[in-house]
């Protein structure tokens, strides 16, 4: 069995390299893998393209990546939140690139990447700035933009519980982008609040099957490790 468990966030991200495209889960502060992001900061990776809903708020999460100089580009839906101080500063000085994507389009582009699709046809953005340079196609008299799939080299995921196979459940609205990002990256790294044994998660309740997860660390200790029954 593939060893996915790592002792620390720093070990969990050991494969990450400069100039990668990186998904970061979360919406606001719910579901943001803050410990993994912190580890990326500590490693002082450079030239990352960060794909996330926001461009960071105040000093935690993506804001700290920006302040540490790790980020070359941000792809997000909501860059100018009031708390996006670090982003505004760098953006105003042309030190970071930006691609703004409607939130639902961002979600579908990521899901399409995970589903092995080339992209989707969406009505969102037709007749707006967002349509610039994108092919337009008409189906049954309605116009759609072709929006291309989006994949990443790495995904940083925040989960509630993880088992040794990498199966994940999330907690409430901290689910948000995490499950689709976990499907669409070449290497998926998880920070979980809790590690449980194989069989502790009901097969019906698992949101992200372990096959998508490559590495994880638990912020808290293993509380139970049930024996796998054959």
């Amino acid at each position: 069995m593939k060893q996915k468990r790592h002792e620390t966030p720093l070990e969990a991200i050991d494969r990450m390299t400069d100039n990668s495209v990186v998904f970061v889960g979360g919406f606001g502060r719910a579901g943001v893998p803050e410990r993994l992001v912190e580890a990326v900061c500590r490693r002082k990776l450079r030239g990352l393209t960060i794909v996330s809903n926001n461009a960071g708020s105040n000093v935690a999460g993506i804001a700290s990546l920006l302040q540490e100089g790790c980020v070359g580009k941000i792809i997000c839906s909501f860059p100018l939140a009031r708390e996006a101080v670090a982003f505004r500063d760098l953006y105003d000085r042309n030190l970071v690139d930006l691609e703004v994507v409607p939130q639902g389009t961002l979600a579908e582009r990521i899901r399409a990447g995970g589903a092995g699709l080339g992209g989707v046809l969406t009505p969102t953005g037709v007749g707006t700035d967002i349509a610039e340079g994108k092919p337009l196609i008409e189906i049954d008299g309605r116009a759609f933009l072709i929006e291309r799939a989006l994949r990443a080299d790495f995904a940083l995921i925040k989960a509630y519980k993880v088992d040794p196979l990498g199966n994940l459940i999330y907690r409430k609205a901290a689910r948000n982008f995490n499950p689709i990002m976990a499907m669409a990256a070449d290497w998926v790294i998880v920070e979980a609040a809790e590690e449980v044994g194989i069989g502790a998660l009901d097969p019906e309740h698992i949101i992200t099957p372990g096959v998508y997860v490559d590495a994880y660390c638990a912020v808290t200790r293993i509380d139970q490790m049930m024996e796998a029954t054959p």
């Binding site: 606001g28 389009t105 707006t128 907690r171 609205a173 689910r175 948000n176």
Partner: protein, 236 residues
Amino acid sequence: MTANCGLSLDQMAWRVAQELQDSWVVNIGIGMPLLVPPHVRADRDVIFHSENGIIGMGPEIEGGDHVDPDLLSAGKRPVRLMPGGSFVHHADSFALARGGRLDAAILGAFQVAQNGDLANWKLPGARTGSIGGAMDIAVGARRVLILMSHTTREGEPKLVDRLAYPPTARGVVTKVFTELGVFAITEDGFVLEEIAPGVCADQVRAGSGAQVKTDGATLMVPPDPVSPREPVLSRA
């Protein structure tokens, strides 16, 4: 906001809330629309959708020890979940929004054009703006209800002939609710359906940057003071 003229903010929110029918699924944008839910009629079950994956979102709650950091509105403020509510991931949440299961969305706006075009994400000439979920929701909802001040702080009209602001979506707005009245978007452009107490048709026309058909408007009679079913706990 036109000072001392027309409806109060709470009255505006109350009026929008009257639009919402029993069992409707409704998305609430950030900002002014957040004032609407407490005014929904007690005999109507309205299911609120929050684009971050909450179906059956309850009212916002004050900060404190009982705040759950994993249960936030699209405006990133603590909320409750209603009984029978559930969670979905972001792709499924926007699938709901675009897929025709939103009976209505209540959004703010910079400008609304007489053909239903909506602008609410970017200032003219600005280098960028925050789209968030507005484009998808505006395109997907069956009815787009706009809650906004009738003019800018500088007194510029926000009901316009053609958008001067970058569009969010084309031809999507159903009705506009301002302190002066309720405006439907029709084949013939803006039609004033209801006029706020103490406001006259001339005022409405003078404050609008497009033709507004005002004859046939009825007088709105809001309760004063309006009493929300739930206390309005926070203001956008």
